[in-house]
């Protein structure tokens, strides 16, 4: 698949949140305010692109040559946990303002299934290094898109009257369901007609 195809696939057609349900916990948890949603979105893009590249390297250069592919779950989750720590330390040294903006979201990302998800999907789809990296960025962009739209809707919802049992999480899920309904317009046929 071409790089543009990968980007369209992961941002729209297989949007991680709205069609694959990966990364729902931060999506529901951090989407109350647009500012924090944007921060979380960029942190996820950053970590996902790094993680898919790092796990690709470990899988192709260590696990496959040694014939120990069955260790991928264990090794991937440890790589991601270590990577998040590393990214946190590097950002803290290089750019304190960026750290202030992203810092609190980074630890939350370790247990975000979206990061492990993109690593596993990259391996299953037999992507090369650059394709994995692009897929990571695209999936992160899809996450950013969904969480920013969601947070603006939720800020609006705060001013509306909602029946009491639906307040908070339930209405957030129903909103996400309606967004997912809209995203059903993006399907494989669209990709075909766009790229020929």
């Amino acid at each position: 698949m071409s790089y543009i195809g990968i980007i369209i696939t992961f941002v729209f057609i297989n949007n991680f949140i709205l069609t694959q349900f990966l990364g729902l916990c931060p999506f529901i948890g951090v989407s109350r305010k647009t500012d924090s949603a944007v921060g979380m979105g960029f942190a996820v893009i950053f970590v996902m692109s790094m993680a898919s590249l790092a796990t690709w390297a470990v899988y192709r250069l260590i696990l496959v040559p040694l014939n120990i592919e069955y260790l991928q779950t264990i090794s991937f989750i440890l790589i991601i946990a270590a990577l998040v720590q590393l990214v946190e330390m590097v950002i803290m040294r290089i750019s304190p303002p960026l750290y202030k903006a992203l810092g609190i979201y980074l630890p939350l990302i370790t247990t975000n299934c979206a990061v492990l998800g993109i690593a596993l999907i990259g391996v299953r789809s037999n992507y090369n290094a650059l394709e994995s990296f692009v897929a990571g960025i695209a999936a992160g962009l899809g996450f950013l898109l969904a969480i920013v739209v969601m947070s603006t809707i939720r800020e609006q919802l705060d001013r509306e009257w909602v029946p009491k049992p639906f307040r908070g999480v339930p209405i957030a899920f129903i909103t996400a369901g309606l967004m997912a309904l809209a995203f059903m317009a993006f399907d494989k046929a669209l990709l075909k007609s766009l790229l020929g």
């Binding site: 709205l18 069609t19 990966l22 990364g23 989750i77 247990t111 596993l120 049992p165």
Partner: protein, 241 residues
């Protein structure tokens, strides 16, 4: 002791009350058989990792406990993944990447950290069973709603001449297909969570009444119950429309 088991099923149900482990819940709940397979996998991983964490808690240094727990959990997930690929290949294919994603299911790390790392083996075992069964029941409820309304079928394991699919007359010819697709999952969990909130609120209101006006209580409780039941929307109907 018995309480350690039942709390996971009702009072602290991981899916509906504390909202943990949602990603696999929504993704694999398209068919009842997927819910059963996923539930079995999660129960096994929960049991294995809670037992190991509980046994090893005195040997694992505090500073590296989270990575150690993750390694323990990932080992059990690998076992489940490989066993499923070998003995239930079709189930393994339909669950896809979500079998491996059990490792980041917050229920498991959450229980290891909050419960098994502090309690004795027996209690941890019951806690794991209760949480696992509670997760499976929640998953079954969601997948049953989605499959019955979205496809008009209930898919179970194929045994002998029975192909494992129960078709519901009337529904299987004209199902509300959207419920079996991605948006349906989000709508169903939203309405179910609202239903559980409403039940909780009703219980609290009734307890408040009982304290505030004891002599009037039976009549008032009956009256509020009747009107509240009428006022509340039925969750499945709302999801289907």
């Amino acid at each position: 002791m018995y309480n350690e088991f039942t709390k996971g099923i009702f009072k602290e149900n991981p899916i509906f009350i504390i909202l943990l482990g949602l990603c696999p819940t929504l993704a694999v709940s398209t068919q009842v058989v997927n819910a059963l397979g996923m539930g079995a996998g999660v129960i096994f991983v929960l049991l294995g990792s809670e037992i190991f964490v509980s046994l090893l808690k005195d040997f694992i240094p505090d500073r590296i406990r989270i990575p150690s727990y993750i390694v323990i959990i990932a080992s059990f997930v690998t076992i489940v993944d490989l066993v499923m690929q070998a003995y239930a290949p079709s189930l393994s294919r339909s669950l896809g990447v979500f079998v491996q994603l059990i490792v980041v299911n917050c229920i498991i790390l959450g229980r290891a950290e909050a419960f098994a790392s502090k309690r004795k083996l027996g209690e941890s075992l019951l806690d794991a069973l209760g949480m696992g069964v509670g997760f499976t029941l929640g998953l079954l409820l969601i997948s049953a709603i989605r499959e019955i309304l979205g496809a008009g079928t209930i898919t179970l394991f194929a045994v002998g001449s029975f192909d494992g699919v129960i078709r519901i007359p009337g529904l299987s010819s004209q199902p509300a297909r959207v419920l079996a697709l991605a948006p349906g999952a989000l709508l169903v969990i939203g309405f179910l969570k609202a239903l559980f909130n409403w039940l909780e609120m009703r219980k609290e209101a009734r307890e408040a009444w009982a304290v505030a006006a004891p002599p009037l209580m039976p009549a008032v409780a009956a009256a509020t119950e009747g009107s509240a039941a009428e006022a509340a929307p039925a969750p499945s109907e709302g999801g289907a429309s």
